[in-house]
Symmetry: C2
Subunit: 344 residues, 2 copies
């Protein structure tokens, strides 16, 4: 990272500098990973500003930008990791990284992928954090039931594009998404199986929700906050579940944003708003991964990734998430997948 | 009711007119009840304005004001109700009412009290709706556990004055309340057993919560909304439960009120905000009543009622709830308790 962005500034390449350096010699317990692909995520914006991330300290200018990715082990002086294996974890925005496993955290979030599936980016996408976040958010926190009427905000975003598909597969009677362009709305319906997509830029969200959910929204999977959350709260079904996954409308806004004025509807509707963080579900990660992989292989779950090529374009790939530039799970391809993989 | 209040007007006697009329003759299936006491409740404000109550239609000028009370059956042409029995239900703001049971609703909310306890107002207070609301809200919705750190807003209000006592009895390690005067704060600590009471009119709520809850609030029982909700959200413990019981700060405000800007804390803290309505727990009402009565008899639970005398003062008693005039559960005494009671 080269310099801190100001609060109202888009993230772009001017906040980063490209540096080349020699790969240091491996020490005992270390192994070298070649980065194949990286996934930008809104949380990464928080690493650039002190006090913004509740989970990790902010980076200082000069440090390597943090980021989750898939790589291949090239050389190893670690007893449990061998050259050739595919590895997922915090590789950073760099072409190679030296990894040094540290205790318990090194189990699910950062680990060898025993049976890699190609394209390997699937393990960052529908089989990775985006998929698992949608899975646990919708099924555990949202307690989705067959027959529910479901709304997903930022439905063409990384998590939203999986959440809508899961709702469909699990038998929701109605799956509606919101997105910021007609092209995204068409993609949601034509490719991902959403019943209806609302362009919140051009349509009256309150009216549309009232029309589409005459008996109310059973599960609202919210990635956005702001107006969309308020409109959804005004249209809840009895015993509705509002899953708060993110709030991209407000958390990096230049000015403090008002909260959802309609929160009081959760009393009349005996509804619940609940936040969650994927970290808490790492020990159940394989449960999600297996189900998602089964659906992918059966052709029920689409690989909905949106690929940018080249590590040098990673800053813009991250910025796109805030500008609504991506359609699906944003992936940055750093190097091609290896032709031959050694699985278990 | 004589005329509709405007949005920013206090409820007072000028909205009501006193009318005298003959008691009509009883028909088959009816019985006559003499009102002994009534409980004003914030929800009653909603009966005065079309579209405000989600539960009941608004009243028109000229109709008898709705209200829950305790009375004694004076005469009966109903097979299940006999003269002398004590009855709780929707008696209206009147000295006598004719009751005509209608099906299933006539079980818990409106019913004969088989073993009345004196003062009978207890059945409107700690053993009635206030007690049961605090009980189910704190224990079921809030899932209170021994050792929790608990915050109650409007702690000197009807429900709050029971909620804090229940939290204490159930082994909360810290019970903090907010109230609007030093006198109320002293009452909370000296009489009800609160550990600390914060005068939100004179103290800095955000700072006090940070000091008092260094590891965060486990259960927030909220009757108020607005600033207090926002301050509490900023100080949640991991896996906190925010029980939304009411929002007197905003629901009859003249201008639309902003929602809780800090709602996003429920993600970082994996917390839950949930609304509830006592109606949903009617079929479990006796569970609460028995426990509350046991505690009352054991001297653990105080009868924290605040009595106004005279039906003519009922409008001001209701208005007090919105001006913060009451200390404890507001009861309006219409006639003295009978000297002899016939129980089961």
């Amino acid at each position: 990272m080269a310099r801190l962005p100001t609060r109202d500034e888009d993230i772009s390449s001017r906040h980063f500098a490209w540096q080349e350096c020699r790969i240091p010699e491996l020490q005992d317990g270390e192994f070298l990973v070649k980065t194949l692909c990286l996934a930008p995520a809104p949380a990464q914006r928080g690493y650039l500003e002190p006090g913004y991330s509740d989970f990790l300290p902010a980076l200082a200018p000069g440090e390597v930008m943090r980021g989750r990715g898939i790589g291949q082990v090239i050389a190893s002086r670690h007893p449990d990791h061998a050259a050739g294996e595919i590895f997922v974890g915090s590789l950073g925005w760099q072409t190679y990284s030296i990894q040094k496993p540290r205790g318990a955290e090194f189990v699910f979030s950062t680990r060898r992928i025993p049976r890699p599936v190609q394209p390997l980016s699937l393990h960052l996408g529908i089989l990775g954090q985006a998929g698992a976040t949608a899975w646990f958010g919708l099924l555990e926190v949202g307690n989705l039931q067959a027959g529910d009427a479901v709304l997903v905000s930022a439905a063409a975003g990384g998590v939203g594009s999986v959440a809508g598909q899961i709702a469909r597969i699990k038998g929701a009677r109605l799956v509606v998404g919101t997105a910021g362009s007609d092209a995204k709305c068409r993609w949601l319906c034509d490719t991902l199986g959403y019943d209806v997509a609302i362009n919140y830029q051009t349509e009256n969200l309150h009216e549309r929700l009232r029309e589409l959910f005459p008996t109310g929204i059973d599960v609202f999977f919210d990635n956005v906050g702001g107006d969309i959350l308020d409109a959804a709260l005004a249209n809840l079904a009895m015993h509705a579940r509002v899953v708060i996954c993110g709030f991209i409308a407000s958390n990096y806004a230049a000015e403090p944003q008002p909260g959802p004025a309609n929160y009081s509807r959760i009393v009349y509707k005996r509804a619940r708003m609940e936040g969650f963080v994927l970290f808490d579900y790492w020990n159940r990660y394989q449960e999600a991964e297996q189900a998602l992989l089964g659906w992918y292989r059966a052709g029920l779950l689409k690989n909905c990734e949106d690929v940018t090529d080249g590590l040098e374009n990673m800053p813009d790939a991250l910025g796109e998430l805030f500008r609504g530039g991506n359609t699906g799970i944003k992936i940055c391809r750093v190097a091609p997948d290896p032709e031959q993989l050694t699985g278990e």
